[in-house]
Symmetry: D2
Subunit: 319 residues, 4 copies
Amino acid sequence: RQLHYSALMLFMSVSMRSMASKTPVGFVGLGNMGSPMAKNLLKNGYPVIATDVFPESCKELQETGAQVVDSPAEVAEKADRIITMLPSSPNVKEVYTGPNGILKKVKKGTLLIDSSTIDPAVSKEMAIAAEKMGAVFMDAPVSGGVGAANMAKLTFMVGGVEEEYHAAQELLTCMGANVVYCGQVGTGQAAKICNNMLLAIGMIGTAETMNLGIRLGLDPKLLAKILNMSSGRCWSSDTYNPVPGVMEGVPSANNYQGGFGTTLMAKDLGLAQTTATNTKTPIPLGSLAHQIFRVMCSRGYANKDFSSVFQFLREEEGQ
Amino acid sequence: RQLHYSALMLFMSVSMRSMASKTPVGFVGLGNMGSPMAKNLLKNGYPVIATDVFPESCKELQETGAQVVDSPAEVAEKADRIITMLPSSPNVKEVYTGPNGILKKVKKGTLLIDSSTIDPAVSKEMAIAAEKMGAVFMDAPVSGGVGAANMAKLTFMVGGVEEEYHAAQELLTCMGANVVYCGQVGTGQAAKICNNMLLAIGMIGTAETMNLGIRLGLDPKLLAKILNMSSGRCWSSDTYNPVPGVMEGVPSANNYQGGFGTTLMAKDLGLAQTTATNTKTPIPLGSLAHQIFRVMCSRGYANKDFSSVFQFLREEEGQ
Amino acid sequence: RQLHYSALMLFMSVSMRSMASKTPVGFVGLGNMGSPMAKNLLKNGYPVIATDVFPESCKELQETGAQVVDSPAEVAEKADRIITMLPSSPNVKEVYTGPNGILKKVKKGTLLIDSSTIDPAVSKEMAIAAEKMGAVFMDAPVSGGVGAANMAKLTFMVGGVEEEYHAAQELLTCMGANVVYCGQVGTGQAAKICNNMLLAIGMIGTAETMNLGIRLGLDPKLLAKILNMSSGRCWSSDTYNPVPGVMEGVPSANNYQGGFGTTLMAKDLGLAQTTATNTKTPIPLGSLAHQIFRVMCSRGYANKDFSSVFQFLREEEGQ
Amino acid sequence: RQLHYSALMLFMSVSMRSMASKTPVGFVGLGNMGSPMAKNLLKNGYPVIATDVFPESCKELQETGAQVVDSPAEVAEKADRIITMLPSSPNVKEVYTGPNGILKKVKKGTLLIDSSTIDPAVSKEMAIAAEKMGAVFMDAPVSGGVGAANMAKLTFMVGGVEEEYHAAQELLTCMGANVVYCGQVGTGQAAKICNNMLLAIGMIGTAETMNLGIRLGLDPKLLAKILNMSSGRCWSSDTYNPVPGVMEGVPSANNYQGGFGTTLMAKDLGLAQTTATNTKTPIPLGSLAHQIFRVMCSRGYANKDFSSVFQFLREEEGQ
């Protein structure tokens, strides 16, 4: 479906939005990621009007200076720029289109930025629903974990109408180091899903390759060096090597603690799988990578960094 | 099995080898790769004593100044440094241990360098057989194609006793730009097989990912740029992108002509598969990559560059 | 979510439904499958009140004696037993919960039977929505194609409250040879999806195995015979062998015409994939089977019987 | 390579072999399978002349009445019908062509039957080597485990020249219930490898399918029943169901004890992989099945029955 809102009407709506940069920003979703993101807005001088289903999360942010309200609808009454950061597609649907959702009370011209990682088809649905209310919806999922969120070093991949990109960028740069415009609504999600799928494939591939090389008598550091100067080079081999002893400062050097959990990677691959199924796109390696991380979740690796696939694949027979 | 040859005896044998650098070098296997390699030795002032099963190949090299003889055994009689460049394991076995093979006439202390890409287990067998005759066998497979062979820009990955590495290096640098010592006999093959397996996985992964992103509405150049600044980055995304229009000077910009043929990649993945099976190493993605390139060979992609997997996976239903 | 409708209220609703067996039956969806199914109800003496988005389909059924109305809502006004047969989940949602949908006008106690093959999660949603209106929803997907639909030889896999199963069975036996009760709502879909996933795996497995055996020198008929008396036996090897010349009366004997199209199998595997992703169930082979049929759809096999995977995998290099 | 031995010469050699049925039979390889097989020959009145590398195995058979000698060569001096039952290809090469191997002393016209499960390419090599000595080599791998060996209930799949099949059959029927002629040398191995590959695919497919169905709310017994009356039916679903509680008398009913160990299945899939690689045959599911059983061997399932793949795939997140 095309978005029908004409450029003119959009311009008019936008002109109704408060242009002064330090008017309040709404924030829905104060979890591990959302909470530090909201704090970074506060640090940058933006008043924040926030809500979350967990009262403790609200209370913590309140103590940092945010105004807490009872529902996404109430946030929408009080702010014309709103950021949402939620765990999954159903939460996003609820927060936007549920009985106390943002769209129940949203003001014309409001800018809605969703930083959740969800199915791009849901982003498009939300954009259409928002447009009907005269608001503008953009998807802006992040890469980078809790650490990057704390230090305002996230990368945002942004999809939505280009005219609104600069308005979104103003807020996102308070919370991240890189903001990339990807195209129409949903392409932010698409970019994130694509990157993580290729990352997953590269990581399992690196783990298999390092394991095979070691068994064939190669020293792991030397093998990594050879790969990294050759056509096998990838981020997983040269920046985040999964073999203990090859690099320092990566999860493989710390018993696969920290980093990006296998269960989160499995979730993102589930999104890749679903979008691929819906668009009839074959992803043989992406699909198998999904299955491998899914099995790992069942075998005790759910909360280890996803580079622990090296450990999963290598244990010796009889041990 | 350990190689039992003592360092002392090795030293003595080696001292019997002619040390003057411009004594003749033997060369067996004058195909698309071997022929330009031998010519580069001639260019560097080495007399070359060569043989091949195809008389035309011999004749062509003879016209460039090489001495042609009738069999590998005869090469071994006349040269104490011999390079072999052959299509597959059975050819290597025949050339070394067959009735007219090198080992029938090899002189003590001869340095044997095999640049074929074969099963490392066969390299080890040859090394043991050579050692029994008092000769030294090293594996030194190459990366880089016919163009790199012509321009002496190959990369050699070398396995074998470290004491001999410098002697090998002297010759290999005439034919290549990089020479890497990998460890004991067979590790040159191991390094090459490992690199190409990870390359194959990265290429298919990149093709799937780019295809999925395009279907989700992303511009391919923009998607490549995002991947290359993120954790999805790999050689296939940043140096050899398989999507037409993303990069210049790569096979995808030229209808997948030139480059590294699918059938050659399938062969290398067959070696990866066999070594993994023999060492009981799980390689789920490597194995699936092997199958995909194998199917492509049956579907008309055998002689296209292996990055044509993008084309193989993307064609639309009904077209 | 549990279905909260109490057994008592259910009983009361049901008693309001006309018990005389030859009162009208509603039918929504008169495609290749729905049309012969509706005709079989007519043949069994049931008045049929039908609708479809395509006027020609309606007209054809009208000529066979059905009453045609304008919308699913109107069908619901006039019949208290309704069967739906639709292509996919979004159509089912529209027909039940859309602005002119069944649930807009459904009478209390109406029995709703959906024979579409869709995501069981959507079946559950529809059941909950129906329950709110005092109606009963059952899923009853079929196996068997157009031929079986014509001859009333379909198999129905039925999910829903057990008390209603006999009422459903009365109608389904007019259209099918086997009716199997599977459990709560959605389990009919689950059973169909599971069967087709295992079928897909068995078919590709049989194709690979027969191809490998033939290349190793085995006569295909003899190999099929050996498999069928051994532990490799499966429906694809003993009833629907994919190798031309092994059996008569199957699509492989007729250039893969007829039978069950690759594109339909890819659709069902897409459902399997989605339910597996949503329930975090690893299905490595099912997932790869999905990808293989998806690639086949892109390579010209979309409308051939799915056993043509034998042909897809076997063509020789260079042909 | 064709076998060049002419029918006439073959007839002459064969006529030199002792035709009286109760002349001695040689037996090499007295392991878990070979020992009961040799005993069954003794029970049927055949004098047995045996050898093995393990003295205890020899001693045990000696006590049952066999004559034990020191080497395969010595067996060949004393018997003109010899059966071999060995763990893998290298053992077969050693026993036939090694320094004390059968072919060092084999008499013209001797019938050599190898019941090991090995690469069919090695069977062909042995046949050519045997033919040079005027002997006849057949491959006759078995299906059925130690129990079937004890009860003379094995199935033999036999490859080799058809004229010799009846002579082989005479002996094999003492040890097995079914003897199937498969064609030229190597086809016995091919048939066994093919059957076990399809079995492996069917088993993993059944495990995935049952697991998915259970998670979707189906009762496992009911699901098995539905599959078994539908197109998903296979030996693993109807005879050897991997889900505890569905069937009695199978390994899944006994904590996956007994049956056919995962490590043995992984070995057979390794042979399938190698023959497929060598014949350039794509086996995507067979290859993935190989990888899955290989990973299971590393994760503690090596000695459980291969149907334990159900358990491997199903364990819940967080358990």
